[in-house]
């Protein structure tokens, strides 16, 4: 813990706050910095980072919460599987995500069997312990989570577990960044790039978004000083008119990422077009299991179609995920949509933008 304390040092934070204030003043215009990752959104809320920034530095929250970008139709498909008697294994965050008509939590209340797992390995254990039951793991997540989740297939092969399969809705970060940059309605001056995703995909993955026509891409860790350093790096580039990939999290992130995790992903998965809740379909932004492993693909195994589903029309989660609007712009936010009764997915996940704003930021300045 002493190691972590170094990245939360109040005196260092104050020094960085002053430097950022100076750079903000020198810039003299608004800087819209998108923090791509949900863990950054939470850390920014938890440490009150917005409070430390000058008025012209605006942090906008991006699409980096895997639960929030999961389509209502995916939840519908999972519920349909559970109603057929399959045991669902899932990360806890998925429980309250609204599907078209109900959530997994409602489904469990009706008697369906849904087990919450802290680790994908728990799903394999569950399947091995119940050989007479089909177990489906709800395989969502970005690059960070994908490698450990697909290792379930490896585990199932080794243990000859034929009763385990994955309902996949994996998402890849770089194609989403490309789609956001190409959207003329969204102004993004810089990306604060994710910490753990970058540890897998590597700093080089952001090269396409830098240079001519690009924006500064600064990789930052999740501790408060990491984030402040990242923002300082962004402002420094904006002042210089630069658009570089700057790895401020070099204690963890390598240029080529984690080769073992990338190999694992390539072995089992192939890129496919994927639908993002509130954004739409982004080319090559998802992964599905390669043909030789199709027996572990729950959608194929049980012939369950995953459609887009229907969502509450008043919910603006799509615009929130794209950074176009903030949770406070939503008529439902903190009124009818709260963590106890979530209407949109961004209010459900612990890393959702609306949940982070609700939890930490309803503080009048």
């Amino acid at each position: 813990m002493k190691y972590i304390d170094g990245f939360r040092n109040p005196a260092a934070a104050e020094a960085l706050r002053r430097q950022i204030a100076g750079l903000g003043e020198a810039l003299g215009r608004e800087a819209a910095v998108m923090e791509v990752c949900g863990s950054h959104t939470m850390a920014i809320g938890r440490y009150g980072i917005r409070d430390l920034l000058p008025a012209n530095v605006r942090l906008i929250s991006g699409p980096g919460c895997p639960v929030c970008v999961t389509e209502a139709g995916y939840i519908d498909a999972a519920i349909a599987l559970a109603r057929r008697g399959v045991i669902l294994a899932t990360f806890g965050d998925m429980m309250a995500v609204p599907g078209s008509a109900s959530s997994l939590s409602d489904c469990r209340g009706d008697g369906c069997r849904i087990e919450i797992c802290y680790s994908p390995a728990a799903a394999l254990k569950l399947a091995l312990g119940k050989p007479g039951n089909e177990v489906v793991f709800l395989a969502i997540g970005f690059e960070t989570t994908i490698a450990p989740v697909v290792s379930l297939v490896d585990g199932a092969l080794r243990h000859k577990a034929k009763n385990l399969s994955l309902l996949t809705a994996f998402k890849r970060i770089p194609p989403a960044l490309a789609a956001l940059l190409a959207d003329p309605e969204i102004r993004i001056d810089a990306f604060l790039c994710p910490a753990h995703v970058s540890a897998v995909i590597g700093a080089a993955a952001y090269e396409p978004f830098s240079g001519r026509g690009g924006v500064p891409c600064v990789i930052a860790g999740f501790e408060p000083l990491d984030i402040l350093l990242g923002i300082r790096g962004v402002l420094d580039q904006l002042l210089r008119g630069a658009a570089e990939v700057d790895n401020q999290y070099s204690r963890v992130v390598r240029p080529k990422g984690n080769p073992k995790a990338r190999e694992q992903i390539d072995r089992f998965l192939e890129p496919v077009d994927a639908a993002w809740r509130g954004i739409g379909t982004i080319p090559a932004s998802g992964y599905s299991l390669r043909e030789p492993y199709a027996v572990y693909d729950a959608a194929k195994k049980f012939a369950i179609p995953v459609e887009s589903g229907t969502t509450n029309p008043a919910c603006i989660c799509g615009d929130v995920i794209k950074g176009k609007r903030s949770p406070a712009d939503c008529a439902l936010f903190a009124e009818s949509c709260t963590p106890d009764h979530a209407i949109g997915p961004c209010m459900v996940s612990a890393e959702g933008t609306c949940a982070a704003y609700y939890k930490y930021s309803r503080v009048a300045s």
Binding site: I49, R50, D51, Y118, L225, K359, R362
Partner: protein, 335 residues
């Protein structure tokens, strides 16, 4: 007893029931009013107002780092009495046992009840034992009710909290919740969290001279410090402003909270007391608490200001954030 596990007949009222009571209950609790196993305890009159409370304990696992269901069942009820300004006197103990429970586990829990009650100065004066079929309860549940005598001077109510009051805590927060969770999640780390399960009534007694200046007290169990403080100012034109750097959190609890992405402010304590008291008495109350081993690290953590019913924290890095109540099924069955 020859059997090594509880059988349904242990709760049937016949020979095995009697044997269980004679071999396990009477030797531990038979000195006082329980001696002749009356249907109810007859208790002497007390001075002044009485405090009465009840609580049920369904913690899982039954044994956890720093305690077990037995001492928790004593401390939980003792502390509810203490948080109302009371000194605990008598306890009841209702046991619900699952068929198949090992006698060794039962004995460990009963030993813990006995030693915790003695250490707290309370007497188990009445009780009951039921056995349910296998699968109908999770090992064992304990219900305890407690009667105490209210100390003079304590008039505790959220209505008495006012601007300028100080928020005090008797020691590191969140240890119990993280200790239980760490065993349940299989996180066994050197120096990991230990439950803080302990009585707090001596702290309440020790500050008796300044009782009138203490406006509100709670033991921060389920929902942790965050829930208690939100409840304290909810609906009032007041905010509580905490300073993160001043809130004591033990290293083991911090480590597990970081690993699981949980907030120690949402984690239960079972041996701490939180008080909101007038500024002039804050140092006095803290000094009195610090005289006792259980209050040695007591400290002030925040202030009450005019506001709109929120708990706000000045973070380590100098920013401000809201401290919300915990939501969802974060920590089920920790007590």
């Amino acid at each position: 007893m020859k059997e090594s596990t509880i059988r349904l007949a242990h709760g049937g009222g016949g020979g095995l029931s009697r044997q269980l009571i004679e071999t396990e209950i009477i030797p531990r609790f038979g000195e006082g009013p329980l001696r002749q196993l009356p249907d109810a305890a007859v208790l002497p009159p007390t001075d002044g107002a009485m405090v009465f409370t009840t609580d049920s304990f369904v913690v899982q696992p039954l044994d956890f780092p720093g305690g077990n269901i037995g001492d928790l069942a004593v401390h939980g009820t003792v502390n509810d009495i203490a948080a109302c300004g009371g000194v605990p006197l008598w306890l009841s103990m209702g046991l619900i046992l699952e068929e198949g429970l090992s006698l060794e586990t039962l004995r460990r829990a009963l030993d813990a009840v006995k030693s915790a009650a003695e250490a707290c100065g309370v007497v188990v004066v009445t009780g009951d034992t039921k056995v349910v079929g296998s699968g109908q309860c999770d090992g064992m549940y304990i219900n305890t009710s407690g009667i105490g005598r209210r100390l003079n001077g304590y008039e505790l109510s959220t209505d008495r909290i006012g601007e300028g009051d100080y928020v005090l805590v008797s020691g590191p927060i969140g240890d119990h919740g993280m200790a239980v969770l760490s065993v349940r999640k299989g996180i066994e780390i050197a120096g990991g969290p230990l439950s803080d399960s302990a009585p707090v009534h001596r702290l309440v007694q020790s500050a008796g001279a300044w009782a009138k200046a203490v406006h509100f007290m709670r033991d921060p169990t389920r929902g942790g410090l965050a829930a208690v403080l939100n409840e304290a100012v909810e609906g009032r034109a007041l905010d509580i402003e905490l300073t993160e750097n001043d809130i004591p959190v033990s290293p083991g609890t911090r480590a597990v909270a970081e690993m699981l992405g949980l907030d120690p402010l949402h984690s239960a304590s079972e041996g701490r007391i939180v008080a909101v008291c007038a500024a002039h008495a804050a140092v006095r109350v803290l000094s009195a608490w610090r005289e006792l081993p259980e209050g040695r690290t007591a400290t002030g953590i925040g202030l009450v200001r005019s506001g709109e019913g929120r708990v706000i924290m000045r973070t380590l890095t100098g920013g401000k954030r809201l401290v919300d109540v915990p939501r969802g099924e974060l920590l089920p069955r920790i007590c």
